[in-house]
Amino acid sequence: MTTSPRPADAARTAITTTTQLRAIQPSPPVGPVERAGLRDRLRGLILPVALLALIWSLLTDWRLDAWVFGLPALAIAAGLLLAMPHPRRWRLAPVPTLLFALWFAVQAVRGAVDVALRAVAPRMPLRPGFRSWRTALPEGAPRIVLANAVTLLPGTLSAELEGQRLVIHVLDAGLDHDRALGDLESRIAAIFAAPLPGREVAA
């Protein structure tokens, strides 16, 4: 692996995950925006901007003077959304999303308890190591959700996402993580209604 760090790539990932997880896809830039596409993209800004405005209003308790900071931030966010590569809209399936949220909450608690117990155990049971996982999820939001979710599952931390390959750091290399990862992947596929081609293979 001789890939050099790509700051632009990192910034894009960060922005994507914090602004609107399901609407933007960090795919490689696809040339200049066509005229007809621009109107669609401006229309596509309405929902994110309204959402961000609502969040800002909630955070500031609906105070008008807080917009001194909120308005410029909102303008920058809208500009970034326009500058980003063309987003792909994902439809979220409501029932799998709710099931995932509940399952994920339980897993995140398990993960925190697991790492807390390892931290305070006198013998500190750690067998750290890296492993690679080839994901069958489509590019964009599903893979970002996967990378972020892996970090909060028991004993796993996403260390690198490159195309189909997700490098995962594990606290206990002796444990079998394949089943948990496969389970997580199929749950995420259900949220985005994305079919998984065949059985995923660990790389």
């Binding site: 692996m1 001789t2 890939t3 050099s4 760090p5 990192a10 990932t13 960060a14 995950t17 914090t18 997880l21 969040i55 909630l58 955070l59 308790d61 609906w62 995140a108 608690v109 993960g111 925190a112 308890v113 697991d114 790492v115 807390a116 117990l117 390892r118 931290a119 305070v120 500190m124 750690l126 750290p128 890296f130 990378a147 972020n148 979710a149 970090t151 909060l152 004993g155 931390l157 996403s158 260390a159 690198e160 996402l161 490098v167 750091h169 606290l171």
Partner: protein, 97 residues
């Protein structure tokens, strides 16, 4: 009664922060330390947020606490990933040179 439950939640949250910090100090390398910070501290903040929400006076306060917890969880996982990636790539470059 409600304030008792809130105290228990906040106390549990503080314990997770403590465990996360112990992990940060004891774990041998950066990646293991990231496990402790992202997971244990994330749950710690959520528990403290739940406790604070129980004590909160208004719906606006509760909404703000929920937003803060959600954003902290999201940015924690993302930052953990970015730090881990940077460390890995730094290692790889060091070996190549």
């Amino acid at each position: 009664m409600i304030s008792m439950v809130a105290m228990v939640l906040i106390g549990a949250g503080a314990l997770f922060f403590l465990a996360g910090t112990i992990g940060l100090l004891r774990f041998p390398d950066l990646h293991c330390q990231l496990h402790a910070l992202t997971k244990a501290d994330g749950l710690g903040l959520t528990l403290i947020g739940l406790g604070a929400a129980l004590l909160a006076g208004s719906v606006g306060d509760i909404a703000r606490i929920a937003l803060i917890c959600a954003f902290a969880a999201l940015s924690g996982a993302t930052c953990g990933h970015l730090i881990a990636r940077h460390a890995r790539r730094g290692d790889a470059e060091g070996r190549d040179v």
